[in-house]
């Protein structure tokens, strides 16, 4: 894997450069860079919902970038999590000498709201560089699970966005054919979410009762006879 900074034709593909490009090209576009501590160093860009499609078209059509190949689209689930942090607060402390203001260390638990995330890995077939990683984040994991669909920009996202819808429950607005793809249509849950509980494994199967002697009491009856 080449590092993302090393574009094949010397285009600066670093997240910061792309961010600057996008902000300059699209008015009002807000782009944040997600750092990546791992040795891979693949950093990514978070786009806002309103300008995501615009930004995607820009990335695809810009003659320098030409990110015409959207390789991988996937969802990631970040559930609500409790953040415990130790903060120093000034507080009145009842002491032996009466109440005094003192700096006290205190653990505070805050609930960081979870969200669902769609990750797009972009490459360029023309320029042969990449990856550029885009992220879209939903507002929350319940009703606010909507994201703009990038399928009209990259057709390759069609099935993969359907899959993210199917397994994570991300609703892609603007997707031409958003149905369940791997699970059956009647299935209600989203199996790839972290809080998914799989049903018990020993559900009755078709074989039960079909085999001679398998039905309860069959042996009993035989013994009686």
């Amino acid at each position: 894997m080449s590092a993302p900074e090393l574009g094949a034709v010397g285009v600066d593909l670093s997240a910061d450069a792309l961010r600057a490009l996008l902000v300059a090209a699209i008015e009002g576009c807000s782009v944040t860079v997600v750092e990546n501590e791992s040795p891979s160093g693949q950093r990514s860009l978070v786009l806002d919902h309103e300008h995501a499609v615009e930004a995607a078209i820009f990335l695809r059509d810009n003659s320098e970038l030409r990110l015409d190949f959207c390789s991988n689209v996937t969802g990631v689930d970040w559930p609500d999590r409790e953040v415990t942090e130790k903060v120093k607060v000034k507080k009145m402390v009842e002491g032996l000498e009466g109440a005094t203001e003192q700096e006290v260390e205190e653990t505070r638990k805050t609930l960081a709201p979870g969200y669902l995330e769609a990750v797009y890995h972009l490459f360029s077939m023309e320029k042969k560089h990449g990856p550029v990683i885009l992220r879209l984040r939903t507002r929350d994991r319940a009703e606010g699970n909507h994201l703009p669909s990038l399928t009209p920009v990259w057709r390759s996202a069609e099935f993969q966005e359907r899959e993210a819808f199917d397994l994570f429950g991300i609703v892609f607005d603007g997707h031409p054919d958003l149905r369940r793809i791997l699970m059956w249509d009647e299935f209600a849950d989203y199996p790839m979410r972290k809080d998914y509980v799989s049903p018990a494994e020993d559900e009755p199967v078709l074989d039960d009762g079909c085999l001679p002697g398998a039905e309860p009491g069959a042996e009993q009856g035989a013994a009686d006879a």
């Binding site: 094949a8 501590e37 499609v53 959207c70 996937t74 077939m125 009209p152 057709r155 397994l167």
Partner: protein, 397 residues
Amino acid sequence: MSRDLMMDATGNDERLAPTYGAGQHRLKAERESQILEVSIGPQHPSTHGVFRMDVKLDGERVVQLKPVFGYLHRNHEKIAENGSYLAAIPYTDRLDYLCSMTNNWGYTLAVETLAGITVPERAEYIRVIMAELTRFQNHAGLVGFLLQDMGASGTPLMYAFREREKILDLFEAVSGARMMCNYLRFGGVRVDCTPEWMKETRELVGVLPRFVDEFERLLRGNEILMARTQGVGVLPRELAVNAGVTGPMLRATGVNYDIRKVDRYGIYDRFKFRVPLGEHGDVYDRYMMRVLEMRESISILEQALKEIPEGPVQDPKTKLRGLRPKAGEAYGRIESPKGELGFYLISDGTMNPYRYRVRSPCLINLTILEDMCLGQSVADVVVTLGSVDIVMGEVDR
């Protein structure tokens, strides 16, 4: 014919619809009553597994085709997220069960990128040898299956399987299993190849060209094959790029994009090989891509077997059991015989991957199945599907 091609625009913004736009264009039949709805699959001799196509036919002409999958869905990604990094490797074998070695490689490459693991030289060579053997047997099998779909009574398929058998014997000798090899590890490979194995492989690679010649004599000039495949299932170049089609299917449309050349992962920059390119993007081109790539694979194998150095095959610093990569993410991809096989991993610093995602070439190459099949007959649908080269284990995951 008074049927016309009806194109529904996906939106007002014409930049949004550079291609057909997500299966929106359908052929309209003269009368609705003529439409015959046929469900091809999930149990059908030539859907290559439990794959289903909801097809609407006007006579034998396809006016709508909706692929339906999920019959083999086992939530591979969830399983891998519940296990350790090591425990995911045997599961990758079962993705594309014809090419377990390349699947292993895709995954180990992603883990190596994520954790910054280096691979010893000899292991890299062994990986290339295994991957190219896999590519060879996959392509041979594909040509066989394609001809089987065309109704050739299995003769080319049997010839392909005859050679595949010999390659699988080699896999078994080194990894212990014929198909579910579970051989590559992050930081190297599991066991070293013996000198006898190397000798046998060299011998086999020496006779493989003879087999490709045989294939060509049997099939290449066959008029029926040419008539059945040329101009059938044409995939336009722009659509192929936009729909993320990869592998031989993409190269059949003339796009020069081979990840072995682009990313130069592993040690592929040390080998001289050419990337064949098609012109028309039809089934015949796809078939020929495979045949030509088989020859290139042989050439890579010859080079690799000549140059392979002695040395360790596993990075001693890498912990296989209980690997805990630093929190972060990585996307690793390889050129599997079917296309770009990518693995996307997010680590949260624990022993299990937080997110494990397989970018399966088979699934994404199916995106444009409808576009290729519209207006063609049922027989062409079968052939077109055969030329896409799908394995349901990877499509449904």
